[in-house]
């Protein structure tokens, strides 16, 4: 097991540890140290990023490899540093040759950008190195909402509270987080602008205010309210005043998430045990989606709408499972225990989740697994969308 990327020593920093990769160890890629004297180990960051995908086996320069990366980062250009790199194939063919003008504080982000360019060139999939995650940390008196880079570095505490924080959800543009805050010792749904810290309480009804989820266009939030006696699903147009109720049952209806077509998947125990159901954007008759086992809850929808990840209980253990809506194949992805809170990466290939203490990511086919090594705990992880 390899441990990467402990660049600084802020408390509660995350690092990531690849515990499982694809068969054969991944595609060999030789990465030479970047010359030029920039105060950042760009080659090391690229190697760590590619290693973490589970699809590459970074080598030191000079080793035989399918691909090679060389580059330079030196003072100059209009912004402080010029970073240039080349990606070559085994026969010496040049696949990428790019250059960036950046200030010193953008050297790490540029390294992630280069990692994603290499990853995308070779695999044809969008990379995740430049993305971010949010999660909840703390407990027992102090709770924190943290935004970190996808390699676990650069954690930023954007909210701290003396009361629980739960269920963060990124807006589709990645600029806002909706979450549940118990400040004042009652639950409220708050939308916080990540970049200026501004907050707006969007629901503080009597009873539960829970499980916020953004519509694909970012204009509406679905969430759970129990003001009418038991938990029901509501949708609120953020430009309007009153949430519209979408479910009507005497049971628990909660954890709504939107599919790209505007329909909503949620957890309900209307059949006696918690299972996932689907309703149209305006409510209506619910269609049951899950039939495996006696507990399927907390859905997360892949960006293309094909997969639903969930918390699945079997034999008393809680696993992350994924349902393929096209083939109806149901796959248990984790060994299980206390696994909860799955969230899809924006490329739809990885799912981050928690066991209540630590964060882990698993690929949708179960073949790749990454542990996020925390100093301190993390739960309720959510992977941010692309774009900013």
């Amino acid at each position: 097991m390899l441990l990467f990327g402990v660049g600084s020593f802020a408390r509660a920093e995350l690092t990531i540890d690849v515990t499982k990769g694809i068969e054969g160890g991944g595609i060999p890629i030789a990465i030479a140290p970047f010359g030029g004297g920039a105060p950042e180990d760009i080659a090391g960051t690229i190697a760590a990023d590619l290693q973490r995908t589970g699809k590459f086996a970074p080598q030191s320069s000079g080793s035989p490899a399918d691909y090679s990366v060389t580059g330079q980062a030196q003072p100059g250009g209009s912004r402080g540093y010029v970073v240039q790199f080349q990606l070559n194939g085994a026969q010496g063919s040049q696949l990428l040759n790019l250059s960036f003008d950046v200030p010193a504080n953008q050297l790490r982000p540029v390294a992630h950008r280069i990692s994603d360019l290499i990853y995308e060139k070779i695999t044809g999939e969008r990379g995740l190195a430049g993305t971010r995650i949010a999660y909840v940390a703390g407990g027992g008196g102090s709770w924190y909402l943290v935004v970190a880079d996808a390699d676990g570095q650069n954690p930023r505490m954007i909210l701290r509270s003396g009361q629980p924080i739960m269920s963060p959800a990124w807006s589709p543009d990645g600029a806002r987080l909706a979450y549940v805050s118990f400040e004042g010792r009652r639950p409220q749904i708050v939308v916080q602008d990540v970049y200026n810290g501004g907050r707006r309480v969007v629901s503080a009804a009597p009873g539960i205010n829970g499980a916020p989820s953004w519509s694909p266009d970012g204009r509406r939030l679905a969430f759970t309210l129990s003001k009418d006696g038991n938990p029901e699903i509501y949708a609120l147009d953020l430009a309007a005043q009153n949430p519209v109720r979408l479910t009507s049952s005497g049971s628990i209806d909660t954890e709504p998430v939107w599919l790209p077509d505007g329909s909503i998947v949620f957890t309900s125990d209307r059949g006696g045990s918690p299972q996932l159901y689907r309703i149209g954007s305006g409510g209506g008759a619910a269609q049951r989606l899950t039939f495996e086992g006696d507990y399927n809850a907390r859905p997360s929808v892949s960006p293309d709408g094909r997969y639903i990840a969930m918390v699945h209980r079997r034999g008393g253990r809680f696993h992350i499972a994924a349902l393929d809506l096209q083939t109806r194949q149901f796959r248990v992805l984790t060994a299980g225990g206390l696994d909860e809170s799955p969230s899809f990466a924006p490329n739809g290939k990885m799912i981050i989740y928690s066991n209540g203490q630590r964060l882990t990511a698993v690929s949708v086919d179960g073949s790749i697994k990454q542990d996020f090594a925390l100093r301190g705990n993390g739960r309720d992880p959510v992977w941010a969308p692309y774009g900013r």
Partner: protein, 197 residues
């Protein structure tokens, strides 16, 4: 920031409210926060340290305290009950539940009855029933289960003559365990309703 607290109070009957923003401007310091306290409710004491403070991403602190619920430090020792959500709740105000259940056990009846007598005898007391679950399963689903437990206690209290206006319900789900660790014993202590007044 004062708007925030006032709005919150005023919104108790509304499904929706718009609070003012708290911005992290330049300092990233504590004055960026959203202030006190939604619950100027009788019977519930506002506790110091329950404010929430937001920060702009660019100014947000990178360090924060760590906390490990499994390690048995701040949040309670394995298998041993500690103070409840808002401070110490004595044993005669805690109702425990079976796994996956909101049914009142026969032995809990006495606790509910004695608290109901106190409340029915003094209509000015407001109680908050705080529902909790163990840590297993989905967090938001556990919020719903905790509310179901608190409502089960509430119904009995009302049947015993307590005014519905005297009894508020809040569910913390698994967010405020009474006991740390992953033992059955800890789980049993965490599946509870605390009668707070």
């Amino acid at each position: 920031m004062q708007h925030f607290a006032r709005n919150l109070m005023a919104s108790a009957a509304l499904a929706l409210m718009v609070g003012c923003a708290a911005t992290g401007e330049n300092t990233g310091a504590d004055q960026t926060g959203v202030q006190q306290d939604a619950t100027a409710q009788p019977g519930i004491t506002a506790q110091p340290g329950q404010d929430a403070y937001s920060y702009a991403y660019g100014q947000a602190p990178s360090g924060y305290d760590t906390y490990d619920a499994s390690g048995g430090s701040a949040g309670g020792r394995p298998g041993q009950a500690v103070a409840g959500a808002g401070g110490a709740v004595s044993a005669d105000r805690i109702v425990y539940f079976d796994f996956d259940s909101a049914e009142i056990r026969p032995e809990s009846q006495t606790i509910i009855e004695s608290n109901a007598r106190s409340l029915a005898g003094n209509r000015r007391i407001i109680t908050q029933l705080e529902g909790h679950t163990d840590e297993r399963g989905s967090r938001e689903y556990n919020i719903a289960l905790g509310e179901r437990r608190a409502n089960a206690v509430r119904q009995i209290m009302i049947a015993l003559g307590v005014s519905p206006q005297q009894v508020r319900v809040v569910s913390y789900g698994e967010e405020r365990p009474a006991a740390g660790g992953q033992s059955e014993q800890s789980y049993a202590l965490n599946r509870r309703v605390e009668i707070v007044y």
